[in-house]
């Protein structure tokens, strides 16, 4: 081999390695990293939104309602479940576990939140839903026909669920709608 060839060879190899490095990093960054960054958490028992609406005749507001003082109840407490599930009604395994693991020992169900915000963030549902007339599905997934509650991806570093809304989203909309962007509107 001539010197030139050698040079050429190593140049080729070099560029090959560059591509390998480049592709590998892209792979790590786009595929491996997200896998590593998030853990998947499953709900303690499955909640079937569809069956509760269709068969039990519940409306959204039966569980997700505004309290008299304007605060939002969010996820229902165990007491709401007990109203019907004091004893096992159907045949699913989840319901059996609901009764034996939570209703009987009077333990709140540790639902995993899909949109948990840190404790210094105070989001007013009534301001957005009632006053600004925003639909729930602007921020939350549509659960109307949901049979199985999906697992929640939680960021290992921040502890937040993957679907969390970031502050710039809030700020952009508040600016557009000419609503106060003062810090203490949401943080205290």
């Amino acid at each position: 081999m001539t010197e030139e060839n050698k040079k050429h060879d190593s140049g080729l190899l070099g560029w090959l390695l560059f591509v390998v490095g480049f592709a590998g990093a892209l792979f790590v960054g786009w595929v491996v990293f997200p896998q590593l960054l998030y853990t998947t958490e499953y709900q303690p028992i499955n909640y079937n939104h569809q069956i509760h609406q269709e068969e039990a005749g519940l409306s959204c507001e039966d569980c997700h309602y505004f309290r008299e003082d304007g605060t939002y109840a969010g996820k229902p407490m165990l007491s709401a479940c007990v109203e019907c599930h004091g004893e096992v009604q159907g045949e699913t395994e989840d319901e059996e576990r609901l009764v034996s693991e939570f209703v009987e020992p009077e333990k709140e169900i540790p639902w995993v939140s899909y949109t948990r915000q840190p404790d210094n963030v105070f989001f007013s549902h009534v301001a957005h839903v009632k006053m600004a007339e925003m639909a729930c599905s602007v921020c939350h997934r549509d659960v109307e026909n949901e049979i199985k509650a999906p697992p929640v991806k939680i960021n290992r570093l921040t502890g937040y669920p993957i679907e969390i809304m970031k502050m710039h989203v809030c700020e952009d909309c508040h600016a557009r709608e000419n609503v106060s962007n003062s810090c203490d509107t949401c943080h205290h």
Binding site: L13, V20, A25, L26, W30, M77, P118, D119, T158
Partner: protein
């Protein structure tokens, strides 16, 4: 093919390039930023629905309505004043606002405890079950019942159904030895008895008074019902017209009560009553008194007039109190001419009985200006129309107990008037002069810390065979108990809170449990009922109720049976504006409705008890208000004519003036609680660094006094009295009277939690208690003291 340096660099460059075009660095940086704000190690309180439950505070007898904010009906997160409650009108005192620090405090007792080792050793307290605890107690009581006087009960509460149950238990069991913690109310009850024929507590129509003269009362610093007083003060200061209520404070220390008064009259400590008599003399000699009342409804005015003329001329009183003669005259004229004017009794917060004559002196001033039983004056606290319980069932043993002499000698030949002589019990027990085998019960009280001359009570405790504490907290007294039967805190229990001290209208507060008891505690009322049942016989028959709630309901039925009274269900109710004697249309139709509303709002009130008519006002032998108290003579108290008249009868401080050149006076404030609970962290935090620094507490002295003793601000000193020695630091202030050392009470705890334990010294350890000869009532206002730099 060889991987040379260049190739390697290319690999890395590719990697870097790829990484930069992937979300990895950017996401990682952003998440890291979020992570730094994710303070996982500090608590993040549970969110949920908020609710408010109304109840009544029981941290002092002040009876404020409070609203507790709960999250998920489970976690109490805030206490506010209840705006519908007439006593505090929505306001709250610092202790009440810090109430959750007791509910969730680290010194709560979680189960019944039995001392298995040496008394006072916390490590040998053994948690036992309630069944076990009650069985131990019942069998011991059963055994003891042969010598029935052997049970002594000290209650920190004097009114309400639970203290009544304690006293009832003692009656049924056969012991006359029911004691309440000493208080100014003791002197007031005796004073009212001898001069008016009834021993009911005092009420003041302060909201309607135009001049309020306080004889040493810390009237805005915790005297009687603290929040009521502060609300009344705010009301006086809101009056903008020319006839606004003026306040005069007679006190040795330039306290907040003194500073905030329109006039502060600085007197020699302990001579407050002498000043009252000085004013009386001016009012009488200048003919400024209420002639129609004095002429028609009083007895012994002439004797009183001659005594005043002889002993309480402005010159003489100026000599005793060191108040200018001209000032005495001016004050007297002002007091007599301002209508209505009222004089207040009870030094400090009213924790010290003092002399019965001090009360008679202050009361005589009210009588002279016609302020007795009048709007804006001094009256009786009206009684609540509660239904009576069935009579106590007595057997041979309890009948014997009923007539047995009391352990404190009250009602006996030495103290015929008195219903209790607390320090006689303490001193006799300390010296081993009570029978062996005494069992002591302590309820809602912490005498080992709170009683003046605290060591004497501790010594007395050592002589007790068994000590049983009903406390919710590991306080100093409970630490020394043999058996602990912890009660739930006021936020976890049902209990009545009767009319607070000093009120002129009827109030019945109902304290509701706002949450389930956090620990294995049991209501003392229930404990007594269960105990009575296991003793059987007449004791059980005296407690026919299934539980405390049944017993309470039975009494409350009385409220539903009277035609007047309302549940306070709207903000801004001012009963004193209704006018006493006015009927109130009940806002409930039946007892059940009343009970339901009471549990919702917490307060029933009534203004219907009229000011007594003059024919029935006084139950004295003459049917009149007696300056000359015949009752004293009737019960066999002997002495010169002065003995039966209001006069200034100081009990000389102990110790000689050469060894102890200064005078030590305790002072109480809103900043440090003196009740059965210790100061909560929120309040201790707010003490100024000239009140508490590290673990050192400060006494106040005048710079002049300090200069003479060679002391500078912050110097460490030793205070020595005949009773003992404590080490403190000095704070130099012109609020202190020259020659007087002012020491704060409520510090120096040796129990409770690390937020209060060991902070400052307990003033009670160096106060010297003296007893009044005819009543046995205790005085510790002024103690001779020596101060030396260390």
């Amino acid at each position: 093919m060889k991987l040379d340096r260049r190739a390697f660099v290319k690999l890395i460059a590719g990697g870097v390039g790829g990484t930069l075009l992937s979300p990895l660095p950017w996401k990682l940086a952003d998440d890291t930023a979020i992570w730094t704000q994710n303070w996982f190690w500090r608590p993040s309180p549970e969110r949920g629905g908020a609710s408010t439950v109304n109840t009544v505070c029981q941290l002092c007898p002040g009876g404020c309505g409070i609203s507790v904010r709960l999250i998920n009906d489970r976690n109490a997160v805030n206490i506010d004043g209840n705006p519908t409650h007439p006593v505090n009108q929505g306001g709250i005192c610092p202790l009440g606002a810090a109430g959750l620090q007791f509910l969730y405090g680290p010194s709560r007792i979680e189960t019944p405890l039995q001392q298995t080792g040496k008394r006072g050793d916390l490590k040998t307290f053994k948690p036992i079950s309630w069944d076990e605890a009650l069985q131990i107690l019942a069998s011991q009581l059963q055994k003891m019942r042969q010598q029935t006087t052997g049970l002594v009960c000290v209650s920190g509460k004097s009114e309400g159904t639970v203290p009544e149950l304690f006293s009832r238990f003692l009656q049924a069991y056969g012991s006359p030895n029911y004691l309440t913690m000493p208080a100014a109310a003791d002197a007031q009850a005796l004073g009212s008895l001898v001069s008016q024929g009834t021993s009911s507590p005092i009420g003041y129509d302060l909201e309607n008074a135009k001049m309020v003269m306080s004889f040493g009362c810390s009237y805005i610093e915790g005297w009687t019902a603290p929040s009521r007083m502060m609300a009344a003060f705010g009301g006086w200061r809101s009056q903008t017209n020319r006839s606004r209520t003026r306040t005069v404070q007679v006190e040795a220390r330039g306290s907040l009560s003194a500073s905030k008064a329109d006039e502060w009259v600085a007197v020699v400590p302990g001579t407050e009553a002498a000043l009252a008599l000085g004013l009386a003399q001016v009012i009488v000699s200048e003919g400024l008194y209420d002639r129609s009342f004095i002429g028609q409804h009083t007895h012994g005015f002439e004797e009183f007039r001659s005594l005043l003329r002889r002993d309480y001329t402005p010159e003489k009183v100026a000599g005793i109190t060191q108040v200018d003669k001209s000032k005495i005259v001016a004050l007297a004229r002002d007091f007599a001419r301002t209508k209505p004017a009222v004089a207040l009794h009870g030094l400090g917060q009213g924790r010290m009985p003092g002399s019965v004559y001090d009360f008679l002196a202050v009361q005589s001033l009210n009588a002279l200006v016609g302020s007795l039983h009048q709007a804006g004056g001094m009256s009786r606290k009206p009684q609540l129309p509660l239904a009576p319980w069935p009579e106590v069932v007595l057997d041979a043993t309890s009948l014997r107990g009923k007539s047995a002499p009391r352990v404190d000698g009250a009602g006996g030949s030495q103290f015929p008037l008195s219903t209790q002589v607390f320090y006689n019990f303490v001193n006799k027990a300390k010296e081993g002069r009570v029978q062996p085998g005494v069992m002591l019960w302590v309820y809602e009280a912490n005498p080992v810390h709170n009683l003046a001359d605290a060591q004497s009570f501790t010594a007395a405790l050592e002589k007790m065979e068994t000590v049983v504490s009903f406390s919710s907290f590991m306080d100093e007294t409970t630490q020394l108990a043999d058996l602990v039967l912890p009660g739930p805190t006021y936020l976890e229990r049902l209990e009545d809170v009767p009319t607070p001290p000093g009120l002129q209208y009827r109030v019945f507060g109902l304290s509701n449990p706002v949450l389930n008891p956090r620990f294995e505690t049991r209501h003392p009322g229930d404990v007594l009922i269960q105990l009575a049942k296991s003793l059987g016989g007449s004791v059980a028959a005296s407690f026919p109720w299934s539980d405390y709630e049944a017993a309470l309901r039975e009494r409350v039925k009385g409220l539903a049976n009277v035609p007047s009274g309302r549940v306070a269900d709207e903000p801004g109710i001012e009963p004193w504006n209704v006018g006493l004697g006015q009927n109130l249309e009940p806002n409930y139709g039946s007892f059940d409705e009343l009970w339901e509303k009471l549990t919702e709002y917490g307060c029933w009130f009534d203004t219907s008890e009229p000011m007594p008519s003059w024919d029935s006002a006084f139950k004295t032998p003459t049917g009149k208000f007696e300056f000359f108290c015949q009752k004293m003579r009737q019960v066999g108290i002997e002495g010169s004519i002065v003995t039966y008249l209001p006069h200034y009868a100081p009990v000389e401080p102990a110790g000689d003036t050469n060894t102890y050149p200064l005078v030590l006076v305790p002072y109480e404030s809103m900043a440090i609680t003196n009740g059965p609970v210790a100061n909560p962290p929120f309040m201790t935090k707010l003490l100024f660094d000239f009140q508490l620094k590290g673990n050192d507490s400060f006494v106040e002295i005048n710079p002049e006094t300090a200069g003479r003793a060679g002391l500078r601000e912050g110097d460490r000193v030793e205070l020595q009295t005949e009773r003992g020695t404590v080490k403190v630091r000095v704070h130099l202030t012109q609020a202190a009277r020259p020659g007087v050392v002012f020491i704060p009470t409520g510090l120096g705890h040796t129990a409770f939690d690390s937020f209060i334990k060991g902070k400052g010294v307990n003033a009670n350890e160096i106060l010297v208690v003296r007893q009044e000869q005819i009543t046995g009532l205790a005085t510790w206002w002024d103690t001779r003291v020596k101060i030396s730099k260390i």
